[in-house]
Symmetry: C4
Subunit: 248 residues, 4 copies
């Protein structure tokens, strides 16, 4: 309630905050995050700023937990709320990817193994076609040395991760998790969920095919990604109803 | 509510629509479909027509979402409701399979890997004995070329899929999902669920046996399929009670 | 309500029927049975008779669904209720195993793969130590020929299964499921649940160890089985509370 | 209610008992324990004593079930309550590890396979970095001979297990389960949950990488463990809300 130095903060639209809260709950309900992981969205009124929950389990987030951050990852009106240590994942990606509107960082369980082996993560089916752009693995030792605590805990590590991500939608963090970006909250949630599903199904297919399987080719991946853009709402409606206990 | 050009539509029996709604919920509750996938049934009053929900998550379908389609997959009384892009899976199969009364298309997760490897899907036990008829894999590149968005989005692709399916109960769609047909809503739901279970168990057995395992032989598969016809209600009653929250 | 020719039936103790109903619900809730599978117990008042639900999903069974059968598997007071086709699994095992008080037949999912490969099911830990007695696989082709519907649908097949089981607590049915016996409803439920858990964990260990793993030896298996007899109530209380929605 | 010889028992703080009850429920809800397994905490008022539930399923424990034990594992005020057979796991570890405040023993399912194969359990990601200290396997045959019932049922076996554990946070018990220690109830619960998660993910990665994968190195493991100490509350709040049905 008490205002701090950053009294100039302009409130984001309540509907945007509600959508971000719903996204937090969905990511937990769909098994993408457990007590850890986070999702941010660009502020709709202040260029360069973004919205992100205080440091807490995504499954318990409410609108009162949503904080505003500036382009460097500094909280504007903390009001006693502790920010996530890894908010620089978000700030540094927003700096280099103007078209990105939302970012998810998670320890999505089925994806973790792909971050520690040589086998690349590729799209097994059209739902995860966005992976066809390639999925780089960020090795924190390259920029942070051999003795980090694995966290992207400062702007330099955030920038290194953003470089590894490049212009792609997903990057894996070795021994840690992954980061997913999208053009909206709904798109990034869709991608985070299907990255997890794809990892589970592709691992299964690689075992069944003893390493040999047919992935989507580049053209199929691009075409399916284009088609899926108009279909995201179908999954979002279901996931939101389930996570918020609205329907069924 | 408003009627369109197709004012001659004769309403289907409410009990049939209720059964189709229940089937949508069951397929979601049993993990056969997520936000995507669909189930249709032949119209009980109009030859060649079929019933299918509007484009939405099956788990949220209610009777108001059920639309009628003609034999070419055109909606009769859309009333602002958007049809599924892939309704031609249904229309084209109904054209070539007069005995089929209901069709399920899903991205049933355990089945996806079998669509992208050389290992065929075969029946590990009597519950999935209907797979003994053989499970073809539909490669969309053969008819749609190397750059589709993977969707069966027009009658030509639907007809190609129907040809691949032939006279069998199940076909896999490479990099996409599968299609299951049956003599009733209950039978197609039963088959869709046990196709998923069979894929999970057969993959496990193939690993355990390092590729060697005993499947049902043709005679066992045929005899068990005959027996199961009278047992489907036992599973349906449970699944319906669970999906609709009636019992327990 | 109406009595039939078998008017001489003496009602079983209500507490025994309640226990059998609870066992049906537990087996469903713990994932041992789905819409199929069944559990019986010896009648407490009539030598050679046993109690078993009518043909229905175990998860929906109530006391009104419990029927009485004679030693040959004939229902005493069907009153319009349809018996399970495979009741002869129960009748024939009770004939040859006087110490057995309860029998479970299921398609317990993790166990199915062990019935179709050469790898034997062995106890990975003390909870499933009863498997140390050896787990035979019943091949129905040996007694029923190559064209059965896989069901133990008559006394002859039931007797063949009982012979395969011998004096052991568990037998697998190739391409079908398994049968578990015990000295009480609680013991057979305990064994059915831990047979399923053991199959899942042993399959995982066999993969991890590339076929090499340490199982319980015969002495350990026997000693742990003796100890577990006094511990079964701990699991039963939890499972019952969960399945019947009593606690938490 | 009735007091016994040990009338000198000083009650532990109610908040500590509540925390221990919550921990019991969380371990069940997170799948670390089923009907078996237990968690203890050092008594906050009496040096050398500890608190542990009576012999029952952790998921059903209430404050009335918490008993006090002396340093030798003898109950102080049993009042008719039966203690766990394996309370000596707790008493003997507390004797040799003064810094340990809480102990979990479980049959955590994904961990069981690592206890029976040669492959060591190592940390795949930062959440389970505490495993970087090494995870010994306790072979009960070494101290108990070839014919035990697998239980750590006396002080001598408890002491042997404590020696195998040494100064590490986790030890596996071959053919049985594992033991986890921590500096608080919350830390030991955190470690027990992520030991289970790590086992599942590492097994998957070892398959995917055909035995080759990158684990955290010693420096990363140590640094991440230090960082995680301040983050445990985030998971605890979620798990407690879920297990006790407080939120969502």
């Amino acid at each position: 309630m008490a205002t701090t130095a950053a009294a100039e903060a302009i409130p984001a639209a309540p509907a945007l905050i509600d959508e971000l809260v719903a996204a937090n709950r969905i990511l937990y309900d769909q098994g993408v995050v457990d007590g850890f992981g986070h999702i941010s969205v660009r502020h709709d009124k202040t260029e360069g700023h973004f919205l992100l929950a205080r440091s807490m389990a995504p499954g318990l987030v409410t609108s009162a937990d949503i904080m505003e951050f500036d382009a460097e990852g500094n909280p504007l009106d903390a009001a006693g709320r502790t920010p996530y240590l890894e908010r620089f994942i978000h700030s540094e990606i927003y700096k280099t990817r103007p078209e990105v509107q939302a970012v998810v960082h998670s320890h999505s369980p089925s994806v973790i193994p792909f971050g520690v082996v040589a086998t690349p993560l590729q799209p097994i089916y059209h739902m995860s076609s966005f992976l066809g752009a390639g999925v780089p693995v960020f090795e924190i030792r390259d920029s942070g040395g051999p003795a980090t605590d694995m966290l992207v805990r400062n702007p330099a590590l955030g920038a290194a991760l953003a470089r590894a991500l490049g212009d792609r939608p997903v990057a894996l963090l070795r021994g840690h998790g992954n980061v997913v970006v999208g053009g909206s909250i709904r798109e990034v949630v869709f991608r985070a969920v299907y990255t997890e599903v794809n990892a589970r199904l592709a691992a299964e297919a690689l075992r069944l095919g003893e390493g040999r399987m047919v992935f989507l080719n580049d053209q199929e991946a691009a075409a399916a990604t284009q088609t899926n853009r108009a279909q995201i709402g179908r999954a979002w409606d279901l996931w939101k109803a389930k996570a918020l206990g609205i329907a069924r």
